[in-house]
Assembly symmetry: C2
Homo-oligomer: 526 residues x 2
């Protein structure tokens, strides 16, 4: 074994919240080490007698790791791998009895073995004394991080739009968002530095925590490249900001989409090397100080229902998160742990990566279904050629009529290279009904009201999207990064089969084209 030449994390204990600093180890936990004294008889623990758990064994049948699914004819493949978790097994194998019993806040530490191997293989931290800790998925992880780092009155740095459930965690705590403008790669390091440099202390202490979804950001669909990550990291070092890297879509990173390219079927065999080389890496790999808390989850790679994820962070944060976990949730479900653990045993870490290579390819195909459907329903023109103020990525115009004249820009979007979402900017200011709509209100109020009515008309057209205002960061009032005359909506390409994607985008394009070109007049309903 070669010596670890990485530095240790720097001292970041001044970031701990009062709550986190006030936690003490559960005194009962101290007893556990005395339970190992040779010959001792313990009346201390208060565990139920394991003989009375009413289960013999647990079995599952799973797909082989190298399964290539058929996205157009989805059904479980005929092959499967069976495993049984016996009532008792010799360590370090998974046995059911340990899964059924109390095990403390750390959960089944056997699971840390493949997780550490995966970490060193895919995103080795740039410092030595990192640790991992299981959690019940990233919703649970995020709340635990908030209680670790945040006080009422604080601001959390985030993208121009934020995942609503992340925000719903901190707003009731008296915490606000501090959104930073960005582009197709997410947060702008210049805007971040400026925002921190010019921070007005009358709003509270300068933000010390940044929440980021660096791959396939929800809802923006943006993915940070390595250079962007480094620039953002450097700003965070300068201003002593802790980076929360919430990375559920890390395994869903795609090559760029090229307009007009024919839809390609999924690769017949996983190309693991291409998959790995296409991956934008974790903040951990550039984190020499230990100021990144990474959240991973099995929700997108295996199954959301397991409610199983993990933190990777410096040992001091991990210890405080463990103290919290002991009183917040205890360890994750033992069923989730033994089943996931045994699946990883069967597959191996390399099998897990191969599974995700194929999975990624499935979602790449689904992204292309939707982008192809958009390309079929609109004329897509690169923003730099479209001459439309405020447009991003590709601008969608109505299909060219026989007269050859281009209609109004309807939506624009950046084709995503990761995740599950396409973030569409809706150009309301080119809609015939916009100019006369509620002229006495502010532009922000008008956009919000127009968007709600637009969304209802979409439902009437039997197409459901997520309205843009769902993702608006809560700054205590309006949205400081509001874009004049434009609304947004989010399209998820992850779930619906191809026929529905085609039909849904047709409905969307048909309804919007009719409205934007004035073929229907909706002003009476406004």
């Amino acid at each position: 074994m070669t010596a670890d030449t990485r530095p240790n994390a720097v001292d970041l204990s001044h970031h701990l919240s009062l709550l986190a600093r006030s936690r003490h180890p559960s005194p009962l936990k101290d007893l556990i080490r005395y339970m190992g004294v040779k010959g001792i008889i313990s009346f201390a623990g208060g565990l139920p007698a394991a003989d009375f758990f009413p289960m013999h064994s647990l079995s599952a049948s799973i797909y082989p790791a190298n399964t290539v699914l058929d996205p157009e004819h989805p059904s479980p493949p005929s092959q499967s791998v069976e495993f049984t978790i016996p009532r008792r097994a010799a360590a370090p194998a998974y046995d059911l009895e340990r899964g059924l019993q109390y095990v403390g806040g750390r959960g089944l530490t056997d699971l840390e073995v493949p997780i550490r191997a995966l970490t060193e293989k895919l995103w080795p931290p740039a410092y030595a004394d990192w640790d991992v800790l299981l959690n019940n998925g990233s919703t649970d992880g995020w709340i635990k991080i908030l209680t670790l780092l945040v006080e009422s009155g604080d601001h959390i740095i985030c993208d121009s739009q934020i995942y609503p459930s992340a925000q719903a965690g901190f707003v009731p705590m008296g915490v606000k968002a501090f959104p930073i403008a960005g582009d197709g790669e997410g947060v702008s390091p210049e805007a971040l530095a400026k925002g921190l440099e010019e921070w007005d202390e009358s709003r509270g202490r300068r933000p010390r925590v940044m929440y980021t979804v660096p791959v396939g950001q929800n809802p923006l669909g943006t993915t940070m490249g390595p250079a962007r990550r480094k620039s953002v990291y450097d700003v965070c070092v300068k201003y002593d900001v802790i980076i929360i890297e919430d990375d559920p879509y890390c395994m869903l990173q795609f090559p760029p989409y090229v307009v007009g390219q024919q839809p390609t079927p999924p690769a017949p065999k996983a190309d693991v090397d291409a998959f790995l080389s296409n991956m934008s890496n974790s903040f951990l790999t550039i984190d020499t100080q230990g100021r990144v808390i990474r959240m991973d989850t099995f929700s997108k790679t295996l199954f959301p229902g397991a409610r199983l994820g993990w933190f990777t962070c410096n040992a001091m944060f991990a210890e405080r998160l463990l103290r919290g976990t002991e009183v917040q949730t205890q360890g994750p479900s033992g069923f989730s742990e033994v089943i996931t653990g045994e699946l990883l045993n069967k597959w191996g870490v390399d099998g897990f990566i191969e599974w995700n290579t194929n999975l990624c390819e499935q979602y790449r195909v689904r992204r292309d279904w939707m982008l192809d459907a958009l390309a079929a329903a609109f004329d897509l023109v690169p923003a730099e050629d479209a001459g439309v103020p405020g447009a991003i990525g590709l601008v969608a115009f109505p299909k060219l009529k026989a007269n050859g004249r281009r209609g109004p820009a309807i939506i624009s979007f950046v084709p995503p290279v990761g995740g599950m979402f396409i973030w569409c900017k809706a150009h309301y200011d080119t809609h015939p009904a916009w100019a006369g709509f509620q002229p006495d209100r502010t532009d922000q109020e008008r956009v919000r009201a127009f968007e709600e009515k637009f969304w209802i008309r979409l439902v009437d057209a039997l197409i459901l999207v997520t309205p843009g205002w769902y993702f608006s960061p809560w700054e205590g009032g309006g949205h400081s990064l509001h874009e004049e005359g434009s609304g947004h909506f989010r399209l998820a390409f992850s779930y619906e089969p191809k026929a529905n994607v085609d039909e849904g985008i047709r409905r969307l394009a048909d309804m919007m084209t009719k409205e934007w070109t004035g073929a229907v007049d909706i002003s009476a309903g406004l």
Copy 2:
């Protein structure tokens, strides 16, 4: 169906914390109901495609509900019941795919069906509009209740001793304990009323939340009878206190222990009627106002590793707890839910009760093992005949010598009628080394120091107990209910097999008898 003549809960919304009042429904959750519109195509949800979850089916083999285990030769019985949870099943059966997918904060509501049936059968609330909500076990449930009801600076009413993990949840929040004196049935209603009536507002607002473990209290082992519950409830109504009924041991309620009765083997067949008639009921059955939040768990009845429990409370509290759950943990593990749900399907609610009747009998036998071992190792004398100041229940003296003279009282305890614990009062003031021990310190300091040294000597004698000070309520300083010259320790009878119980109690009695009778002089080590 007969009309429900129960009243609705009264308005208790003034009890909500600022945090709980500030929670809003996740906007994404609103979308879900539009997903049911006929013919709609949804690009809104962002769910992973269920076809890509890598699992075909999940199977388990469980014990039949009427299994009678053999506590002296514990091993899984040869019979078992197999079940398989298929990939897809028609509602309302459990299917794996729903267990593997995101399902929202409420979890798999199918599980609410047997839970509601159990509730109406065993502890029907005395008001109509109650609700249930799944959680990840009672550690998770308790933290969610704290965030629902408590502000920094508050006090929580509790027994004279408190479960350390419950306290570890609220102390870092800036919350203190307000312990109330009690007896063998738990909290004294008179002491509770006096404590609330004479509350000194300079300590903070008058306590509004009572934490109680009414059956087999941990560590006291006390169980409240019906009359005691009613008196305590009435005091809580008068002073507008919310009762948190944490009842993990509700299925472990035993007939009284009679000294000198021969150890009885477990009943060869479950006597469900006797089991139910011996049950002290829930606060819910006398709660006409909806001021009780009951916490149940499958940890003691099935398996702790499932991390699965539930709240029963008024609909308003349940809705706020659900809002919290959506951002705190989401629903419980789908694996835990489908496995537990399918087990309950196989057994039925009556089978679940039969299983617990047998389980209870197993723990009754284990309680008797330990009490019989204590009776064999000491002379046990009822406190009322023993003439020992401050003694409770049964007083343990050294075995009578040939000369017929009684030695010093060593410990005293109330034989528990529920739970997993015997709480022993250690009479330090009859120990030869006590009088000269650290005479310049306060009695409370002396007890604590003596107890720590005593505990180490027990470890040296290869016997592990839980020291009494672990359970001391944190009031910001000393313990206001301190008993002069006495310490405590907790014995768990739940876990060790009979041979270890016998040997462990022999070691304990031997070591204590030698010390208390002066046969060994330990003063040099103090």
